[in-house]
């Protein structure tokens, strides 16, 4: 009986470890073309949900709700964010990595690392979040006029905001893991080059999207 219990416990532990791996270290198992296809699908889905909730990913780490736009602009934002960081990380990887790595692994895993944006855009669909945002904009003297904020809007909208924030942190962690694994760089060199690349990509994506959106 004790052996059966031990077996079940070990099985449950393995299952938990596998689940944690899939959530926080998915690139140990998935990279290359497979991750690229999953990532592009996630970017497209996040763009579509962003279009429905007027939520823009207007920068590698940016997320803003409110301004309506054409669907293709929402899709383009995700692609620009992904490409900006991937290209900068490719250069960083070439500079700091001692190993020869495949560009398709870095491009694919960086695309897949953006999958939490699907959850962010989905959370932005919550009517309470939309009402909370409209209310805040109205109180700040925006064009929305008088919008009554209900306690449920604050509670659910606040939870949605918290979820979004956690998803951004999770996305950055996935981006770092993807870079670290694909270029085989770790420690201070890996973290330092990643932070610099992230800052550069954020600036590049902002400039590119401002130019694109103001055309």
């Amino acid at each position: 009986m004790a052996q059966v219990d031990n077996g079940l416990t070990q099985g449950a532990n393995r299952h938990r470890a596998r689940l944690a791996d899939l959530l926080f270290r998915p690139f140990v198992y998935v990279a290359g073309l497979q991750s690229l296809l999953i990532g592009l699908a996630a970017i497209a889905l996040a763009g579509l949900l962003g279009y429905l909730s007027n939520s823009h990913f207007d920068g590698v780490l940016d997320f803003h709700t409110g301004r309506p736009a054409a669907l293709h602009l929402f899709l383009l934002e995700g692609l620009v964010d992904w490409l900006a960081l991937s290209v900068v990380l490719l250069v960083a990887g070439k500079l700091v990595s001692r190993t020869a790595f495949r560009a398709v692994d870095l491009l694919g895993t960086q695309a897949m690392a953006r999958w939490p944006t699907v959850l962010i855009a989905a959370a932005a669909l919550a009517p309470q979040y939309q009402r909370l945002l409209a209310g805040v904009v109205a109180q700040l003297g925006g064009p929305a006029g008088q919008v009554a904020i209900r306690p449920a809007d604050i509670a659910v909208g606040g939870l949605a905001l918290l979820l979004m924030l956690l998803c951004v942190v999770w996305m950055v962690a996935l981006m770092y893991q993807a870079y670290s694994l694909c270029c085989n760089v770790r420690g201070a060199k890996g973290a330092g080059s990643f932070v610099l690349a992230l800052l550069a990509a954020e600036a590049i994506s902002k400039v590119a999207l401002i130019r694109l959106l103001t055309r």
Binding site: F27, Y29, A31, S35, F101, R102, D105, T109, L181
Partner: protein
């Protein structure tokens, strides 16, 4: 006295940590024994899972893609593992040649 051992091959002295050498070898069939001073092959200094990785890698004709499929992990995971094994072998070679730190 003559029995087939299946335990892990010791490569370091349990007392001072220096690399062990082979002093005596024996034929399990005719019990002939050879004595001398023989260095262990570099591969013997690797962990058993590293040796297993090398065997699988050679079995897969050196294909990282095939290794990734066999091990159920991604291509960069296998390549990083190979990088680790290469680094271990280089360190072992340098140590053997007396060029390491």
């Amino acid at each position: 006295m003559m029995s087939q051992q299946s335990g892990r091959l010791p490569t370091k002295c349990p007392s001072c940590g220096a690399a062990l050498t082979v002093k005596r070898m024996a034929c399990p069939d005719c019990h002939t024994e050879v004595e001398g001073g023989f260095a262990l092959p570099i591969l013997a200094g690797l962990d058993s899972d590293e040796q297993d990785f090398i065997l699988k890698f050679v079995g897969a004709s050196g294909s990282l893609k095939e290794m990734a499929r066999l091990l159920g992990v991604s291509y960069p995971t296998v390549r990083n593992r190979l990088d680790e094994v290469i680094a271990r072998l280089k360190r072992a070679e340098e140590k053997r040649d007396g060029t390491g730190g």
